[in-house]
């Protein structure tokens, strides 16, 4: 269970103070898939980073399975991210000199876990068999995002945080990625998809809107 309690995040830009997230609360149970819509600059990415343990909020707490994420130190939080959180981004963020299969296996650098033939399963599942020895620069946008998604799912995390993941994809690949998110939540995972695209939200259990850091 994910519990976001009254979080606020400020940024200091020169002399002005920007409130990226404003006293935001949210509770999600296992298997829930929520879409959060919002315009650019509304605080979507900041919210995902805060939930994912990357960005300490100025106020409020994040509880995952009743554990306060920010009570952990940096290294503990890193280990926690490796095991519990899957990230997927609009810009893919693949490691340029690693092949598809190596990119999918990259989380092993963060944490040594027994994964058996998990990499091959994921390659199969995301239709990347033909591409597994290719470098990211040789891939289409859809293949890149499928690789990124496979990497996020390597350790079977509890929560999948998807930041405008369909922004760079054609409809076919968008469909495929959204179906994968759906499947992940159907298997008990929590999915938060943030997007400014109306249609992308259609697969979610519920859709909310964020504006100026306030969720409604």
């Amino acid at each position: 269970m994910l519990k976001v309690e009254n979080i606020t995040k400020f940024y200091q830009k020169g002399s002005t103070k920007i409130t990226a997230i404003n006293d935001l609360s949210l509770t999600l149970n296992k298997g829930e898939f929520i879409a959060i819509k919002g315009e650019s600059g509304s605080g979507k990415t900041s919210l995902l980073h805060t939930i994912g343990g990357l960005l300490r909020p100025d106020e409020g707490t994040i509880l995952i399975n009743k554990h306060d994420v920010y009570s952990l130190n940096k290294n503990e939080r890193a280990a926690f991210r490796a095991e519990q959180i899957g990230f997927v981004f609009q810009q893919f963020h693949l490691i340029p000199y690693l092949t598809v299969s190596e990119n999918i296996a990259a989380p092993l650098i963060a944490k040594k876990l027994k994964i058996g033939s998990r990499v091959d399963e994921l390659i199969e599942k995301f239709g990347l068999s033909e591409r597994k020895n290719h470098l990211p620069k040789e891939l289409s946008a859809g293949e890149k995002q499928r690789t990124a998604l496979a990497r996020a799912l390597l350790f079977n995390p509890q929560i999948l945080l998807a930041d405008e993941v369909t922004g760079n994809l054609d409809p076919g690949n968008s469909e495929l990625v959204l179906d994968s998110l759906r499947e992940f939540s159907d298997n008990g995972g929590i999915v938060i998809l943030v997007t400014h695209d109306e249609s992308a939200a259609s697969k979610a259990d519920k859709t909310m809107t964020i504006s100026n850091g306030i969720l409604s």
Binding site: G52, N75, A78, A82, E83, I85, H93, Y97, I109, A152
Partner: protein, 420 residues
């Protein structure tokens, strides 16, 4: 996937960045090792040169000593015994006595059981004109006798001139064009030339030596001699007077002169030559040391400068590498990689650059430093221990140089980097 594998992939799929770092470390190492190797070559050469010079010096001293030995044998009559009443003024003017004494006095010396003289050379000397050759000569008839104490039945007596033989001074055989082995007549008697002396630059060059008996007969002085040369008196200088004393006791009617001036001069010359050679050796050693010190002064500036430059360039290379890998660092951190793993990732790379580059640089340094030098085997300069030290130092310096960029990389805030 693990950190080492990741670093390897980065190196193999981004060769240029790796090769730049490799080149910097290899060149730096090559310059440092090349310089050190040149210094070592200089030392080895110095040792070689000095050893050679010393060998030459020793050989020269040996030759001088041998010369001296020969000279003291031929000329070094430590004592000259001449008849009593001989006018010494005339003697020094002519170089031989005009008075005579009986050859039998020699026998008294020879049969003495206490006299410490190794050789006795009774002689009859006269200045004559060699009638057959129409040439002024100093004719010396002489023979060798060994006093009782030094008689050795196994060793033949030292005979200055063999029977029927003749020894010629340098000028004589040169002017008269006489060769060893040829026969020649003197005062009607035939002699075989047994030896043609080398140039001595003294009266010896105008001297003819023949056996004493022949000289006595030819000069009508049977049983007469005008000097006895006493050779190799076994004495420290203090006991020389004792020997002179005992000679005078054995044969009272003689004068005993010390005749070793020439030997002393030669000995002095020998010592001077020895000293000069030693001084030359020292001067050479000094100039080599001077040169070495100059090289050392140069190396002391060059080596740190090269190392600092190399380290600085490695640092810049890593800054560039870190900058171009921001996104990668961000994502690795986001998916849970710890800060120190990022640090290790970069330090590992710097070590993977440094080790093979240090080996390459070491070999290049040693190889290039020997190219221009002769007589040097690479194996003389190559040292496994030195190589290990080089690798360690190169690794250490590269790691230190890449430390700050690596630390900077590890401290990046992933949330900032991956903000889409």
């Amino acid at each position: 996937m693990n950190t080492f594998k990741l670093v390897n992939r980065e190196i193999f799929r981004r060769k240029v960045n790796y090769l730049i770092g490799f080149a910097i470390v290899a060149i730096t190492t090559a310059i440092v090792i090349g310089t050190l190797s040149l210094l070592k070559i200089h030392d080895l050469q110095t040792a070689q040169i000095l050893a050679q010079k010393e060998a030459e010096l020793n050989e020269r001293v040996l030759v001088l000593q041998d010369d001296y030995r020969k000279i003291s044998l031929e000329l070094g009559f430590n004592l000259l015994i001449i008849p009593e009443g001989q006018n010494l003024g005339n003697f020094y003017a002519d170089d031989f006595a005009s008075k005579y004494m009986d050859e039998s006095v020699t026998d008294k010396l020879v049969s003495s059981r206490t006299l410490t003289i190794q050789h006795l050379l009774p002689s009859l000397t006269q200045k004559i004109v060699w009638p057959e050759q129409k040439q002024s000569i100093i004719l010396i008839g002489t023979k060798g006798e060994v006093p009782y104490l030094y008689r050795n039945p196994k060793k033949p007596m030292l005979q200055p001139v063999p029977d029927g033989g003749m020894v010629l001074g340098y000028e004589l055989h040169r002017i008269l064009n006489l060769k060893e082995g040829s026969k020649v007549k003197l005062l009607g008697r035939e002699f075989t030339i047994t030896k043609c002396n080398e140039r001595r630059g003294s009266k010896d060059d105008a001297t003819v030596w023949i056996p004493l008996k022949d000289a006595q007969e030819l000069l009508n002085k049977e049983g007469k001699i005008n000097a006895i040369l006493a050779l190799k008196c076994h004495c420290a200088s203090g006991t020389l007077t004792n020997i002179i004393q005992s000679v005078k006791e054995l044969i009272p009617n003689v004068q005993v002169l010390q005749k070793n001036k020439e030997v002393a001069i030669r000995a002095k010359a020998r010592d001077r030559a020895k000293r000069e050679a030693k001084e030359a050796l020292k001067a050479e050693e000094l100039s080599r040391t001077e040169l070495k010190n100059e090289q050392l002064r140069f190396a002391k500036v060059l080596i740190p400068l090269v190392i600092i430059t190399g380290a600085f360039m490695i640092c810049l290379t890593f800054i560039a590498n870190v900058k171009s890998r921001q996104d990668e660092i961000g994502i690795l951190r986001t998916i849970g990689t710890k800060q120190h793993t990022i640090l290790i990732m970069f330090l590992m790379k710097s070590i993977l650059i440094a080790i093979p580059a240090a080996v390459t640089g070491y070999l290049i340094g040693i190889f290039t430093s020997t190219i221009s030098v002769e007589n040097f085997e690479l194996s003389e300069l190559f040292g496994t221990f030195a190589l290990i030290i080089t690798i360690c130092l190169a690794g250490l310096i590269s790691t230190a140089a890449s430390w700050l960029p690596a630390l900077y990389a590890s401290l990046q805030d992933p949330a900032k980097i991956i903000q889409d």
